[in-house]
Symmetry: C2
Subunit: 199 residues, 2 copies
């Protein structure tokens, strides 16, 4: 089905142009016009794929979720429980250029959703990514609990929320001060946090 | 010195008008013109106090730091070491309307600084607030260590970074999903985290 693949590729090209505009100029700069210019397309061609701004923003944000999910699905669940959990979580952390771009876009959506009083399409998408990451934390801690690796007596719901906070906090710090909170440091701190939950 | 006090009050009024614009419309909407309109002043009057945009943004951001510092200085260091540490840290968390406003403004600065590739006035101020919070975490954990309350064998530098990540992660979550990550829940999670470091 070459035609379908082609359309999907074009939609992704447009979404990536939106990412570049958002990362460079902020989300308020992202319009059909600026995104078309960035992608080297006509505004009409962009509108053919995305008739309105909301549809484009939704697709661009879904692309973040889809990429994280694809990377996680592609992981080989071999090794110790700890090393598997760390590899899964690292896919959601801004440890390389691709994942930094995803986090920057999410952050821009988040700040703008906040400025718009927490309603509407932007906020829905921020919510969705947020819930996705919490669910990942939950699945991983449950897997550790079932394999008997987790310390006894932990309140799992509380630990899910704390782990989720650690991950988003580290992502933020890696973004604000990349020279201090390096990818290696983020990995160390995350490993240390998970280890503190183990038996 | 009534005249000096008056000028300072006016500068704070302008900074607060900037906060409102930033929280409502995002940081890119904040210009001398929109801030003057928000404050009910003429653009010329705003320019009398802040000749340029950079000076105004700096003042508005310094006001966040100053307010947090003033609240912390006003705290009465009585009670158990744990309860003192929690009260200090809570002053930096978005647990009421005033602190939510401060965090929103910081977040808007952060996202925009990121869009501007991490240089310039915005980034300097984001950095300053970021370093201030890390230093607060450091002082408090050092105080706990000196009072013999902290668990033996902890890597203090690592725990400072982890605590700082927990705080910023919780702030972010309280902002994204205030109904789930309520002020009471943030306090519980923070207390649980600090308790996990105690002897």
């Amino acid at each position: 089905m070459p035609k379908i693949v082609d359309h999907e590729t074009r939609r992704e090209e447009i979404a990536e142009a939106l990412w570049r505009v958002v990362r460079r100029d902020g989300i308020r700069a992202a319009s059909v016009r600026t995104i078309a210019a960035e992608a080297g397309w006509s505004a009409g061609a962009v509108r053919y794929y995305f008739p309105d701004q909301d549809g484009l923003l939704s697709f661009a944000m879904d692309l973040v979720t889809r990429r994280v999910t694809e990377r996680i699905d592609a992981l080989d669940p071999k090794g110790s429980a700890l090393s598997i959990v760390l590899r899964y979580l690292e896919e959601a952390l801004p440890l390389d250029a691709e994942r930094r771009a995803e986090f920057d876009v999410w952050l821009a959506f988040m700040a703008q959703a906040q400025a718009e009083s927490g309603t509407g399409t932007l906020h829905e998408h921020v919510d969705k990514v947020h819930n996705g990451l919490r669910q990942l934390c939950e699945s991983l801690l449950q897997a550790l609990a079932q394999s008997g690796t987790l310390r006894d007596g932990l309140d799992l719901r509380r630990e899910v929320e704390r782990l989720h906070a650690v991950i988003d906090g580290l992502s933020l710090h890696a973004t604000i001060q990349p020279d201090r909170t390096t990818p290696a440091r983020v990995r160390q701190l995350l490993r240390h946090h998970i280890e503190s939950l183990l038996a």
